[in-house]
Symmetry: C2
């Protein structure tokens, strides 16, 4: 008598399924959350599903294609009422998001299928990270997928790593989660949890 | 109207809460699982809770104190019927465990509060890891907490890292999950998921 005979087993092929597994543990109905780089909208969609009709998601992107695609996917899924798509850089997050969010997610690098010249930059990225840590509630998480493989990505990764390692362990639990049997250019996850 | 107003938020202070978070996603009622180093029994207890009365847990340790303590905790929690405590090295796992397990967990190093001269050794550890990978079902996970801080622990960690990195990425998703704002001697998690 197995009450749950075939639960979905997540396959941890790369950082995306791992980040989604983590978001599912930390974002709950009624919560607020931020997708700092909405891209094709798949993280926004998951966050909107998790916060539900009583929650709120803010999704940022500097490319109108990304905002349009995300808004369309949210509408199709019936989540339009609980998510806001904002055509602006994530470094404006603090002006727009209500503090006390459960999670903020970033995908660094360029928009998949988009213009590869439009990439995230360490200066604005770090500014947005700092804002994200302030906006998080205690126990909340900042989840960053770092792509060292594109041009400038290795430098961006090094900047993110140094920033993450510099935090007081009494205030933030800071993790690096990477696959070890893949090339060094493969993406990895940086996870920061606010303690209090 | 929040259906789940105060869900428990796991605090990711070190590998233990992270390993428990992962086990909760991969071990379900009716499953089988292995605690390869039962120690004080806390991982065994979690696995027994997760597999439930229709599942099965095998718990190994070479120290009778550990086996006794684990059996007592299982009995107190009402899980005695679904877990077996085995006073034997985990390198005998293949002889005792039915294949198709969802998870195998190892805590390397010494028994907390026990004799620090009794530690895990790379040779038997790797032999048991190999058996664990064969016993896992597709999608199943091997979770290893590595403690580089004790004497011999840094060597053991290097052996585990090299072994983990050597696996074919088509067959195993292999991860290293470590905190970055702690000393290098701090424990970290090695996670290996069997693809098929």
């Amino acid at each position: 008598m197995n009450p749950n005979p075939s639960p979905e087993i997540p396959l941890l092929r790369g950082p995306v399924p791992l980040s989604h597994l983590l978001l599912r543990q930390f974002v709950h109905p009624g919560d607020r959350a931020v997708d700092a780089t909405c891209g094709n909208g798949s993280d926004t969609l998951l966050l909107a599903e998790l916060v539900g009709p009583t929650g709120r998601v803010w999704a940022f992107d500097i490319q109108s294609d990304a905002i349009g695609q995300t808004a369309q996917r949210l509408a199709q899924a019936g989540y339009a009422g609980q998510a806001e798509c904002i055509l602006a850089g994530h470094e404006t997050m603090a002006e727009r998001v209500t503090p006390g969010v459960s999670a903020v997610i970033f995908n660094l690098g360029y928009l998949p299928g988009g213009d590869r010249a439009i990439i995230t930059h360490p200066e604005t990225t770090l500014a947005a990270f700092e804002q994200a840590l302030i906006l998080l509630k205690p126990g909340g998480i900042l989840v960053v997928t770092v792509y060292p493989g594109h041009e400038g990505g290795d430098h961006e990764g090094a900047v993110v790593d140094a920033w993450a390692a510099a935090h007081d362990p009494r205030a933030f639990h800071t993790w690096r989660m990477g696959q070890v049997n893949v090339p060094p250019s493969a993406p990895y996850l940086t996870l920061i949890q606010k303690v209090a």
